[in-house]
């Protein structure tokens, strides 16, 4: 085969239960390049990468590394061939330390005992090389933010001398600063001759970082182009057949009375006096870096975490939600940023997920007995109104794509009939098509006179969606911007210490 390529995947096909997930897909990656793999969720990117990593077996097709045909039957085979994959779902052991996690498969290096001093020093060096000197090698991974856990994950692969590195949405949870650092590392790795396959839904990143782009659509290969020869516009068209300007659908909401106003909210250690307000029909954004206290502020108001001090005016009344139940009873909802652990019940039915916060709507007069027929209609009506794809409401949420899972989480709050709702990173890890659908749902919340707070780390999303934006820094609001003042420059300068 062509010797110019480090990795060639040729005519790969794979089907699940008779449904084609991949059909004759090819991917050619050169040595020392960053190759972007692009496509909507369900386009087959993850399946292709799972075949490369040995997690799935291909039905047909060939894989060549350095021109030699290879067989990858198990994840171990892939590892031996120098292939490392960093998945969206982190696989760190939360109770082990950073050092232990990074060197998990060579803790003793065959000596039969662990040289802790060296282990820590090696870890220190790895972290410093990545530019994350502030991570303590002795910290437990479970205590770190998701962003830092991702960094540990990347570190782990680097110590294994991977020559082909696959990153699946690595920046979805990283802050602006951290992304810069990651890019520096990736560029350095490219210069060292590592081949990087980069999966991301953020087009800006792909244009900045990648050398070539391969686009997949509906399990089929579309094209491979040098990054310099294509623009955003055409790329989106290739992926979804949709124009970029349609990404943020228009909204015709009339803004009314203040629904929620918070004054001087404090919750140690992350929230040091936050004040804001949101009106009916308004979408208010919370921008800023990851970990500056946006989620914590909202959780404290919602009653999920302890609030140390502060005043909440909700629907004109002095209120203090003592727990989430209290908040939900007052028609105040919060969609968590952590879909898997706090958003949906993955192994339970769609039916159960949608009505869990609104069981009183589907019970008889006793409030105890569920009217299953009425519930079915209730659930199906809601799902229809937000155009969710599903086979049956009895199916597990697990069986849906990420975007549709998130819609189920949204449906839960539609069912609960909220007056005010907080969306924490509502489009994390979903593809462009699903993003638009979620934006539409958020718009319909606002159009129905609901006060919406949207926490987001994606600046285009903040700019495209919000009527007004609060930017947070170090547990405080560092600035408030009206819609017409919004720009990435403004947001960044308010978010960072200048």
């Amino acid at each position: 085969m062509d010797g110019n390529y480090k990795l060639q995947m040729k005519d790969i096909s794979k089907s699940f239960a008779g449904v084609h997930a991949l059909r004759d897909v090819s991917l050619n990656v050169k040595q020392g390049e960053i190759h972007a793999l692009l496509g909507e969720n369900g386009a087959g990117k993850s399946t292709l990468m799972k075949i490369l990593s040995g997690a799935y077996q291909k039905d047909s097709g060939e894989i060549y590394i350095d021109g030699k045909q290879v067989k990858i039957h198990t994840p171990r085979d892939a590892k031996t061939l120098g292939i490392a994959v960093i998945y969206q779902e982190l696989v760190l052991a939360p109770d082990l330390t950073v050092a232990e996690n990074i060197f998990i498969d060579k803790l003793s290096n065959g000596r039969g005992y662990i040289n802790w001093k060296k282990l820590r020093a090696d870890t220190r060096k790895q972290l410093d090389d990545l530019g994350f000197g502030d991570i303590d090698p002795n910290a437990k991974c479970g205590d770190l933010s998701i962003a830092y856990q991702q960094v540990i994950e990347i570190c782990k692969c680097l110590t294994r001398k991977a020559r082909i590195l696959v990153l699946d949405e690595p920046t979805a949870v990283l802050t602006f600063k951290e992304i810069r650092k990651l890019f520096d590392v990736l560029n350095k790795l490219r210069d060292d001759g590592v081949s990087i396959i980069y999966i991301s839904h953020r087009l800006e990143e792909i244009f900045e970082l990648s050398d070539n782009i391969t686009v997949l659509k509906d399990g089929q290969y579309v094209t491979t182009v040098p990054t310099g020869e294509i623009d955003k516009h055409r790329l989106v068209n290739l992926m979804v057949g949709r124009e970029l300007k349609d990404l943020f659908p228009p909204r015709s909401a009339s803004i009314g009375e203040v629904v929620l106003s918070a004054e001087n909210i404090r919750a140690v250690p992350r929230v040091n006096g936050v004040s804001f307000s949101v009106r009916a029909g308004e979408v208010v954004g919370f921008s800023g870096l990851v970990g500056v206290g946006r989620t914590e502020t909202m959780r404290a108001i919602f009653g999920a975490d302890k609030m140390d001090s502060g005043k909440i005016l909700y629907c004109g009344k002095d209120t203090h939600f003592k727990d989430p139940k209290d908040a939900v009873r007052h028609k105040f909802g919060m969609l968590s940023e952590d879909r898997k652990n706090e958003g949906v019940l993955l192994e339970q039915s769609i039916r159960m997920n949608v009505t869990i916060a609104a069981l009183d709507k589907v019970t008889d007069r006793t409030g105890f007995i569920i009217k299953r027929k009425a519930e079915k209609k209730f659930v199906e009506d809601i799902l229809k109104s937000i155009q969710t794809k599903y086979a049956s409401i009895e199916n597990d949420v697990d069986s849906l794509s990420g975007g549709n899972q998130q819609k189920i989480a949204l449906a839960k709050w539609i069912a609960a009939d909220c007056k005010c709702i907080v969306f924490d990173e509502p489009t994390r890890g979903v593809d462009i098509g699903a993003k638009v659908e979620i934006y539409k749902v958020i718009n319909s919340f606002a159009e129905n006179g609901i006060a919406v707070v949207m926490i987001s780390s994606e600046m285009p999303e903040i700019i495209g969606m919000c009527d007004r934006v609060y930017v947070m820094r170090n547990g405080r609001v560092s600035g408030e911007l009206e819609r017409e003042e919004l720009s990435e420059d403004q947001l960044i300068s308010l978010a960072m210490e200048v």
Partner: protein, 311 residues
């Protein structure tokens, strides 16, 4: 290809039914006495107590917990009820009421430790199991308490239509309905599936966790009395190992010990599978030790069948 996938998922989904019917048919062929009414009634009388315990255990397991204290609660309930009936002039109703109160309190202690003190269910219920069994020995002085007359034995009398079997059947039906048609059943399984998400959906998760241990305690207490009724004797040794049989029944019924999965009806089948094994081997004169071996192997087989799913 397609067919093998279907067969697999069929096995995974229905393994409880398959094992149950296989066991039933095997029993019918192995012994002619198996289907005789006298034998079936005997199974009913023996199994009404373990069934109640298994249903209570299931609700705890569905929240992701476990309740090892049920055997000890059977013992203390049996001891206290019989003591009160023998020495304090309590009638049957009074004895049962007292026992149920004790079961409720024991369950409340375990549940509070788990839900509000964040103790692991295994540890909390192990402690309660040990302490409660000790109390039962203290109050009975370690000797059996014989209740004279027919007070207690009316529960197993044919003249009344074998009340224990009827009560057990009613409880099963009630909990089947609770599981499938009430908010309570819905929330219990949701809690076991993802506690955080349920809490953020505005549900006071801890109360539900606590309540399952209370249910388990009450059902175990009633089971203790049922057990005593067969011999009209209360004892601190009643219910030894009952917690393990209950867990086995739940697992055979497809429940997951990590929570979020389980069915009352299938747990009933699970308990009956265990009952059939014991019964058929008794009928054939096989010793108790061999029964344990078969039981253990069967549980492994059932869980392996379910395990196909995780691949």
């Amino acid at each position: 290809m397609q067919k093998s996938i279907n067969l697999k998922s069929f096995l995974v989904k229905n393994n409880t039914y398959i094992i149950f019917f296989a066991m039933l048919i095997a029993c019918i062929f192995i012994s002619e006495t198996f289907l005789l009414p006298i034998n079936l009634i005997n199974i009913g009388l023996q199994q009404s107590a373990p069934l109640l315990v298994a249903v209570g255990m299931l609700f705890v397991i569905m929240t992701g917990g476990i309740d090892l204290s049920v055997g000890s609660i059977m013992a203390i309930s049996s001891s206290v009820a019989c003591l009160l009936m023998r020495d304090a002039g309590f009638g049957l109703a009074g004895g049962i009421l007292a026992a149920v109160c004790i079961g409720l309190i024991c369950g409340m202690i375990t549940g509070a430790l788990v839900a509000y003190c964040n103790m692991q269910a295994f540890v909390a219920s192990l402690s309660v199991m040990t302490a409660v069994r000790g109390v039962a020995y203290i109050i009975t002085n370690g000797s059996p308490i014989k209740v004279e007359g027919t007070t207690l034995s009316t529960l197993v009398a044919p003249g009344n239509g074998y009340p224990v079997i009827i009560i057990a059947a009613l409880v099963i039906v009630a909990f089947c309905l609770i599981q499938n048609y009430t908010t309570y059943g819905r929330i219990v399984i949701a809690v076991g599936s993802n506690k955080n998400a349920v809490e953020l959906a505005g549900i006071r998760v801890k109360r539900y966790m606590l309540s399952t241990y209370m249910i388990s305690g009450v059902l175990a207490a009633i089971a203790g009395i049922f057990y005593s009724a067969r011999t009209s004797t209360g004892s601190a040794t009643v219910g030894d190992g009952a917690e393990l049989d209950a867990i086995a029944a739940c697992v055979l019924g497809g429940a997951s010990l990590t929570g979020g999965r389980g069915s009352v009806f299938k747990t009933l089948l699970g308990a009956l599978i265990l009952a059939f094994i014991g019964n058929i081997m008794n009928l054939k004169g096989v010793g108790a030790y061999a029964q344990d071996v078969v039981q253990g192997c069967l549980i492994v087989a059932a869980v392996l069948l379910q395990g196909i799913k995780s691949k």
